[in-house]
Structure formats: structure tokens, C-alpha cells
């Protein structure tokens, strides 16, 4: 592709803000920047700076804004979820590595990976309700459907911890396997936990943390992404260099897709035809065709790409005020 095409693509994105509805955001965690990719041309059209070590991002429950966590500077960058425009910063969120909203939108939880604690905020007012210190490396989280409990994996100690959101008290903390990372709550309430230090995912009872089953997927099982039907999930296997498609009802691996270079976070395009997977070690994001379940291309991005998000206008899950509207004390307009 020549320079003119690159320029034209970039201009197109600037001129037509709505065009970014098809944009894709990728966080370059070791470059302190995020890339914006034009889905149509499959090219990186902008690389914008952000604080330090951005790893994960999440849309707000009303679906209007996107929060990008800058772990090293203790802040969240707020973007318009449709256009990608910057709206402001939320300050004093300490080491926000992983982020999560409870399904009812009333709780916002962060896992401080390096500082070994989990922070539970009330979304209304965005005030810290409780900070719980844990051993060691809290990484991923999931919530129960009733928004009563948050489950947090502890990558270094091999444990999974459950906290009551209302009281911020520990409910249980059990060993589940080597280096647990990604976690999801299934519609039938079971928990699936990916073991990055092993080649499997385990089924965990949300009531007491007991491991009740195991499915071998690939070495370095790391993170999940829902296919969208409530039954199938994609799972990145970091060491194996594959993405597995899992049927959670039958507990079988439907397919293994070769995605080299440390596959990590994922998202599916608005039309549901492609899965995009960050390749941590290859500075690029892979494109998987969901009809053929084959990797069909990739887009070069920055160093150590981690979180990925499609700017497609997410559906609201709860009527909750924006952090920018609700917290004047900690938010500074950008």
C-alpha cells in the first residue's frame, strides 16, 4: 500500500468521525500508546499516547464510553465509545491493571496486578468502597449474574478468590492450578478458569471454589472471549500459540486455530465474521475468519499489544451515570 493510500485512509478517519464506528483500538502496553486501526483497510491509522503501561479497557455499562487503564500513572482515559474521541481522565485509580463492572452496573472493580490488591468502587460517585490485599498478582475477574460476588484469579499463587461486593469481605480463596488468568461465569453459574501455567481450563464451583472438572485445551491457557451465543467461548493458549473454540455445555474443544506469537486478548467484529487476537510477542493483531476458523491476516501495531476493543457502539447493560458525570473530584477533562 502506497503512502497516498495511507494518507487517504488517515484523512478519511479524521474527516468522518462516524467512520470510527468500524475502528479497532489496540493497547500497546510497552509503548504507552494505543493504536486505532481502520477495520475497512486493516491498517493502523493513528497511534496515540497514553500514560504508562496500558493493558486493559472496558466500556461503561451505558455503552457510551470506553475506559482505558493506564496502570503506571494510576488513571483511566475516557473515550467516546463510538468515535474514539478523548473525553477526560479519571485520576487516582491505583494500578488499574484489570477492570470490571458488575452486571447491574453498581460496582466497578480493579485488580492491581503489581501492587497485589483488589479495589471495589461504587459506580455511583465512583468512590472506593474497599481495598483488599491479596497474594499474589491479581489478574482477571468475573462476576456472578446477581452482582453479589466478584471472582479474582491470582496468577502467582495459583488461587482464585471470591469477594462479597457489598461488604468487600472474602468469601473463599482456593488453589485452582498453575498461574490462573482468564475467568468467565457461565449462564449456569459455573466458573471457567484458564491456567496459563498448565494446558487446561478448570471448572470451579462459585459457592465454595472447589475444582470440579478440567478440559485440556493447549499449553498456556490464558484468556476467554465469548462467541456471543452464551455457549461457545474462544480461549487463547499463549504457549501453544493457538486459540481454542470451546463448547461449554459439552465441555469439548470444537476447534484449535493456529495464532502464533503469544495470543492474548480478543474481540469480535460488529458483523460477527472475524475474531481479532492480540499477539503479544509479535507486535501485531491477528485476524481470524470465523467461517473457516483460520487466521487470515494480521495488522502490525505497537509493542506488546494487549487489550483490544471494537468501536462499534456497545449495547447498554445498565443505566449508570458516566464516570465523568458522577465524579467531579477525581475527574479532569482532557
Amino acid at each position: 500500500m502506497n503512502k497516498f493510500t495511507v494518507l487517504a485512509a488517515a484523512l478519511g478517519l479524521v474527516v468522518s468521525a462516524n467512520a470510527r464506528a468500524e475502528g479497532i483500538i489496540v493497547l500497546n502496553s510497552e509503548e504507552a500508546s494505543y493504536s486505532i486501526i481502520d477495520a475497512a483497510t486493516r491498517m493502523e491509522v493513528q497511534r496515540l499516547p497514553i500514560g504508562r503501561e496500558p493493558h486493559h479497557l472496558i466500556p461503561t455499562p451505558d455503552g457510551k464510553e470506553l475506559l482505558i487503564a493506564s496502570t503506571g500513572t494510576n488513571e483511566l482515559l475516557v473515550l467516546d465509545v463510538r468515535t474514539g474521541e478523548r473525553r477526560g481522565m479519571v485520576r487516582n485509580i491505583v494500578d488499574p491493571y484489570q477492570l470490571g463492572y458488575s452486571p447491574d452496573g453498581k460496582w466497578f472493580v480493579t485488580a492491581a496486578y503489581r501492587l497485589d490488591h483488589v479495589d471495589i468502587y461504587k459506580t455511583d460517585g465512583f468512590k472506593l468502597a474497599g481495598r483488599v490485599f491479596l497474594d499474589g498478582l491479581p489478574s482477571h475477574m468475573s462476576f456472578d449474574a446477581g452482582s453479589k460476588t466478584v471472582f479474582v484469579t491470582l496468577q502467582q499463587s495459583g488461587r482464585l478468590a471470591a469477594f462479597d461486593l457489598a461488604t468487600q469481605m472474602l468469601k473463599w480463596n482456593t488453589f485452582v492450578g498453575e498461574a490462573p488468568a482468564g475467568i468467565v461465569t457461565l449462564p449456569d453459574k459455573r466458573l471457567l478458569v484458564a491456567l496459563t501455567g498448565e494446558d487446561s481450563i478448570v471448572v470451579v464451583d462459585p459457592v465454595n471454589g472447589e475444582v470440579g472438572g478440567r478440559l485440556r485445551t493447549g499449553k498456556g491457557a490464558h484468556n476467554f472471549w465469548p462467541k456471543g451465543d452464551g455457549r461457545h467461548f474462544f480461549l487463547s493458549n499463549r504457549v501453544e500459540g493457538t486459540v481454542s473454540l470451546i463448547d461449554t455445555q459439552e465441555m469439548t474443544v470444537v476447534a484449535n486455530i493456529r495464532v502464533p506469537g503469544g495470543p492474548d486478548d480478543m474481540d469480535i467484529t460488529a458483523d460477527g465474521k472475524e475474531l481479532w487476537v492480540t499477539q503479544r510477542f509479535m507486535r501485531r493483531i491477528a485476524i481470524v475468519d470465523l467461517a473457516t476458523l483460520k487466521m487470515v491476516g494480521h495488522v502490525p501495531v505497537g509493542k506488546s499489544p494487549h487489550g483490544v476493543f471494537m468501536l462499534k457502539g456497545t449495547q447498554p447493560t445498565a443505566a449508570v451515570p458516566s464516570p465523568l458525570q458522577s465524579v467531579s473530584a477525581t475527574v479532569e477533562p482532557k
Partner: protein, 321 residues
Amino acid sequence: MRDLIDAWVFVQDWIFETLVMPVLYATHLMAWDEPAFGAVEFVMLGVVQIIVIALGMRLFERRWPLERGTDDRLMRVDVVYTVLNKLGILPLVIFIATLPITNTIEYLARAWGVAPLRVEHIAPWLQNNVLVTFLIYFALYDFAAYWVHRAQHRISWWWALHSLHHSQRRMTVWSDDRNHILDETLVNLVLAIFSQLIGVQPSEYVSILLVGRLIESWSHANVDMGFGWLGDRLLVGPRFHRIHHALASAQELHIHDSNFAPVFPIWDILFGTAVYDGKRRPTGVDDPVIDADNGRGWIAQQIMVFGRFLSALVPARLKRA
């Protein structure tokens, strides 16, 4: 440029996925996979630096040597220092030794809600100027390194360690890494904490080290070269830095207490320690105990210099007694 980056990433990924990650996985150390991936790049950068020194800089020394006919055997130990440093063996030891300290400082600061300041917070226009931001941090780092270097000369026990670096009579492009491991550890610790406080990002830190240490390797070259009147005031070169390594004489007892700046001479100019006289002087230290480092191997130097360091810790009045 894109092809070069692609090739670099391909090699780094291949080394990591083929050689390193399987070992981490087998030894239950997958929680360390991201730092290990960064370490692979550090070693690769070290190999590039060794190639640049051995094939590029040495070419100038062979073609236009300043000192001819001196004993090349004295230089060999400096090659050992360089290889140990550039391939990450000594940095790994230093990293492990200093990690608890730097981590504790960062944990405390961030747990108290103190996040490192970025220059972009002060000057938002820098957000889209990566190169300018890098140069600002590079200059700030060099400013701190200038004062650390002055402390190495001023504090007696630190000079006991640092004098190893100055004892070389056959100064070449290999001499920059000739340092006692304790000296390297202290310097790294101070500069790493300083970098944390001013918000230098890990990738910027690696770039600063890479570019800075290459410039410093060149500034030790056995050539009588500079960058011109203006250039010598913007960037440290061999002619400028050789004065810092000059052997003291009766007329110039403290000649090595000048030209401290590692990369940017502006600090010497601002703080009155710059010397630009163009005179050619031999290098080394006018002290037989320190000069005895010449001819010793790496292990012997490390042991003897540590002894000097311990001796320097003993107050002078106790030594007299």
C-alpha cells in the same frame, strides 16, 4: 524501516517462543513471561552493540589510533566487561539485587496514590512528539548521571570502586563497561529510582541505556576526534572525555575532576567543570595501588577493588591508630 522492525520482532519472538518460554512453562515460572520477553530484547540489543563496537568503532581506532604501540593485552579484560554487560549477565545480577528496593519504592509511592509525573502532564503538546519527549527524558537522565558521576569522584569509598574504571592505561572503546559490579549496582539503583520518580517508561529506559551507552563507548575510543567546536559542546566525544581520564601530573593534580558528563557536555559547561584545551594526555591514575589494576583479570580486579572499597570505609583516624 518496517522490514527491519519485522525482522527484529521475528528474531525476538522466535528466541522467546522456542527457547525461553518452554523453560518458563516447564519450571512453573509463567508469571514471569513478560519480563523474560523483555530480557530477550535486552540481550539482542547487547549483541547489536557489541557488533557496532567490534566492527564499527574499532575500525576508527585501528585506522586513526591516538596512542600507538601500547600494550593491547591491557585491553582484553575490558572486552570481558563489555561482553558480560551487553549480554545482560551483569545487568541480570544487578536487576535481581535492586528489584526489591525499586519495587518497594514504587509500591509505596503508588499505594499512597503518588503516580510518577510525565512531562506530557506539564506540556500536553508533547503527547504527539515522541522524539522530543524521549530527548527531554534523556537529558534529565543524563543530568542525574552527571551528578552521580561527580559523587563517584567526591566520596572516598565510591572513588575506591570507581577508580577501577579510571585505572586503564590503554583506554579504548571497550573501556566504558570496565566497572566494579558494586559500583554498577549503586549507579543503576540511583538512576533507576530517579527515572521512576520522573516517569520514565520501561521502553524509554531501555532506549536511553542503549543510545547512551553506545555514545559512552565511543567517547572512550583511542582516537583524537571530536564533533567540531559546536558539536563538542552538544555531545560528548573521545577528545572531550579523554581529558576526564587523563593521568594527573604535578601541574594538573585534579584533571580527572572535569568533563563528567556522560552524553551532554552542557552540564559541565553549566556547573564549571568543562575543559576544552585539546591537549593530548596519557590516561590512568597516578596511584600505584590503583594502577596495579592493569594486568589483572576480571575476577582479580573485582576482589582487589572490593578490598580498596572496604579499606576506604575505615575512618582515617582508625587507620593511623
